[in-house]
């Protein structure tokens, strides 16, 4: 706007840099030549929630350097997907990097990943559904470093003010509707949930539905179960006992919850840290999500330590990834960062330390990971944008269009 010419120049330079990086990444047909044995030098690209997390990772990386004799250059990305894209295009990606489960299929399908789980001895200690989230087309790619699940958070003060007791914690959809209605008063909404598949999707799993079937081979979005879930959310939105954050002038569920605009919200364990930092005086209780007609259901969010197919020191990279997901390192890394350990054997010790996170850990058994298929991101973004208008929209039409678009994306 302000300086169109300068802007196009910037754009041109950006394109130029990227294309040149791509072209000059060591010839046009470079294959990864492995570094000779001996000490390897690795680069690791991570996304960090803040200084505490970065320092925790750096401490583990330092310990690894001491033990292995390899050197590791730890880089914190401001925009992980963009920096990864530049690395892949230049043929010089980081050897080890964080990869979100929702991005796995795209990266695996593009051939960017080196699968190493066949070299891991104690794979069965990791939650199987987390490993499934990093399995694409029959290949298990990378180790989940930690995870988060959704649970129901309840504001204690609002709860008792409405005359409710512990016995009233909702365990079914009907009970959730009822308490949400009871808790909706004046400036307070019963339940505030984010208007995306990452929150509303939990109701779909509780109804027994999901976007794809179990092995991801078939699109099952337009199903009676999913319709039931969307209709349930729609009814409550229309009744005013559920609301999206934007409707109560909040950025996300946690903000609405912390400021008292919501008596309940559905968020993951990251809420614990956010509440401590921003709303330390709000007392709240975390309970499992209520069960729907299809039983218990929640969603999981997880990152793995991926190794690049174009890494020139794959063995050392796998070594680093397994080191950072070992029981000791994982215990240290899940200490201050609010995430849950992805090894089942660590759950007891973790819960002893953080008993209030029981509901999150319990979700691990049955949590549904993100949609695991390549090329579906735009379709899911479209689904999200339609969810924004769910209150007055047609759930059947939303599911039908998403079904068609997903089939087209996966088929083509």
């Amino acid at each position: 706007m302000r300086h169109p010419i300068r802007r196009s120049a910037q754009a041109a330079v950006a394109v130029a840099t990227l294309s040149l990086a791509a072209a000059c990444g060591g010839g046009f047909d470079d294959s990864a030549e492995q570094q000779d044995s001996g000490s390897a030098s690795l680069t690791m690209l991570i996304a960090s929630s803040g200084d505490a997390e970065t320092q925790a990772v750096q401490a583990q990386v330092d310990a690894y350097e001491q033990e292995s004799g390899n050197t590791v250059d730890l880089q914190v990305a401001a925009d992980l997907s963009q920096e990864l894209a530049q690395g892949f295009a230049g043929g010089n990606p980081p050897d080890v990097f964080y990869l979100d489960a929702s991005r796995l299929a795209d990266q695996a399908d593009a051939g960017n990943l080196y699968p190493y789980l066949d070299q891991v001895d104690d794979l069965d200690d990791f939650y199987p559904n987390l490993v499934d989230a990093f399995t694409y087309d029959g290949t298990q790619y990378c180790l989940p470093k930690d995870f988060s699940t959704l649970a129901l958070e309840i504001n204690d003060a609002a709860w008792s003010a409405a005359g409710l007791t512990e016995a009233d914690y909702p365990t079914t959809w009907e009970e959730l509707s009822t308490v949400a209605q009871t808790l909706t008063t004046g400036g307070q909404t019963g339940l505030v949930i984010g208007d995306t598949r990452d929150r509303v999707g939990a109701f779909m799993t509780q109804a027994g539905g999901w976007f794809l079937n179990e092995d991801g081979s078939e699109v099952t979005t337009d199903s009676p179960e999913n319709l039931e879930a969307l209709q349930y959310v729609q009814e409550n939105l229309a009744a005013g006992s559920f609301a999206y954050p934007s409707a109560v002038d909040a950025g996300w569920g946690g903000e609405a919850f912390g400021t008292g605009k919501a008596a309940m919200t559905i968020e993951g364990n990251w809420l614990v840290g956010a509440m401590e930092a921003d709303y330390p005086d709000v007392g709240y209780t975390v309970v499992p999500l209520p069960e729907g007609p299809g039983g218990a259901g929640t969603l999981s969010f997880t990152n793995c330590l991926a190794v690049a197919a174009d890494s020139d020191a794959q063995d050392a990279a796998v070594d680093l990834a397994t080191y950072l997901t070992s029981a000791d390192a994982m215990t240290a890394l899940t200490q201050d960062t609010g995430v849950l350990p992805s090894r089942q054997s660590l759950a007891d010790a973790y819960l002893e330390q953080f008993p209030e996170r029981q509901a999150y850990v319990d979700g691990a058994e049955f949590a549904q990971g993100p949609v695991n298929a390549p090329g579906v991101e735009q379709v899911l973004i479209d689904f999200d944008s339609q969810l924004g208008g769910l209150a007055t929209g047609d759930p059947q039409a939303i599911l039908e269009s998403t079904q068609t678009n997903l089939e087209q994306a996966i088929g083509g």
Partner: protein
């Protein structure tokens, strides 16, 4: 852009080219020197602009997934498939792209005239005899030199549901919308307010069909309230910069012509309409062209404030292209989008250039050329006769 004819209205007389002048050896030597002097720049532009553009065009013809070089043997050539996906094949990719074009078109329709008019208005005010001129000049120019990141953040706070803007609206009894999360289209709302249609139950004639995957109802939505907030932001930011261009041009309008017009009895409006405005024509062309190009490439405000939300009403081609490439790895499609955007900008700028051309100057030039032709043909005839 720079080859703008001299202002019309007899303010300047274009020099008549000397007839029959041919290239001499000396000028071809000058040509070589010219090339030598511009060579470094030509090489730089070629290396960092031209070649990358050609490479990007190649990417738009492939199914490159962003791994390794797009010129390696593993990359498949798909012809114009990527263009077909976003332009002709029914489906979500085309729907998204058309939605982004729709949004951006409405954005341009509002931003360019508004910012040009406001910039001109401010420049006229500053060019008159007011006090504290340099204070106002700085104040108006200030938003332009401020980082768009900072401005965007301030606007997020101004336009939240309980923000300052709604607070002010509340003082006059208006219950303001939740700006950046309101996807209702302004034209839909206006039509609803005037009783032309019911926005919650739109007429079937408009929703049933329409070109390029969107219904007429969608095309004619107007900017959403969220996009309108972005429009306000951008107009506020950029008007000051263009104001400076107008101000510079205004100070070049010859005072004697103004005075002559006054002597002839022209009132203020007539002097503005018939003397000032024609003199500003080159600047007006420059400002609208820069505005047109800039507004079709809007990216940073969308990236910072709305990420295409709500309901995709702030999605723009530049932002969609970015997410297609970096978020979802569809590099070919993203490159195709940017070339379609490029084509749109070129076509629109050409149309604008044609519409805003200086008809008087062209007529003058034509007359001059005709005169020259007559002269040279007559001189040739003379020569021919003399030779006989």
């Amino acid at each position: 852009m720079t080859a703008v004819p001299a202002p019309a209205g007899g303010l300047a007389t274009s020099p008549v080219r000397e007839p029959g002048r041919t290239r001499s050896k000396r000028s071809s030597g000058q040509n070589a020197a010219g090339w030598a002097f511009s060579a470094p720049q030509v090489v730089l532009v070629g290396l960092f602009v031209l070649i990358p553009i050609l490479m990007a065009f190649w990417v738009s013809l492939t199914d490159w997934r962003g791994r390794g070089s797009p010129f390696s043997t593993g990359v498949g050539f798909v012809g114009f498939d990527n263009y077909a996906t976003i332009l002709t094949e029914p489906g979500l990719p085309r729907q998204d792209f058309m939605t982004s074009l729709r949004n951006n078109a409405w954005y341009v329709v509002f931003v360019v005239p508004l910012q040009t008019a406001i910039a001109l208005g401010l420049a006229l005010v500053l060019n008159s005899k007011i006090r504290a001129k340099s204070f106002f000049r700085t104040a108006f120019y200030f938003p332009t030199v401020t980082s768009s990141v900072a401005i965007s953040l301030v606007f997020i706070f101004l336009f939240t549901g309980g923000g300052a803007v709604n607070g002010l609206l509340g003082l006059v009894g208006i219950d303001g919308p939740n700006w950046f999360s309101d996807s209702r289209g302004l034209l839909h709302l206006a039509g609803d307010g005037l009783g032309l249609w019911d926005a919650s139950n739109p007429p079937a004639a408009l929703t049933d069909g329409g070109p390029l995957g969107l219904s007429w109802w969608d095309w004619l939505s107007g900017p959403s309230i969220a996009l309108a907030a972005l429009i306000l932001l951008v107009v506020w930011t950029s008007a000051g910069g263009y104001m400076l261009m107008f101000l510079a041009a205004l100070q070049d309008v010859p005072a004697d012509v103004q005075e002559a017009a006054r002597m002839d009895g022209a009132n203020a409006w007539q002097r503005f309409r018939n003397v000032t405005l024609p003199a500003l024509r080159p600047t007006l062309f420059l400002v609208t062209t820069l505005g047109l190009i800039g507004t079709w490439q809007v990216f940073d405000q969308v990236y910072l404030i709305s990420q295409g939300n709500p309901a995709k009403t702030t999605l723009t081609p530049a932002y969609l292209s970015y997410t297609s490439a970096f978020e979802t790895g569809q590099w070919g499609r993203a490159a195709a989008m940017s070339f379609v955007l490029f084509a749109i900008i070129v076509v629109l700028t050409t149309v604008q250039r044609y519409v805003m051309r200086d008809k008087d100057a062209i007529a003058e030039k034509k007359a001059a050329r005709a005169a020259q032709r007559r002269r040279s043909s007559s001189s040739r005839t003379t020569f021919f006769h003399a030779g006989r």
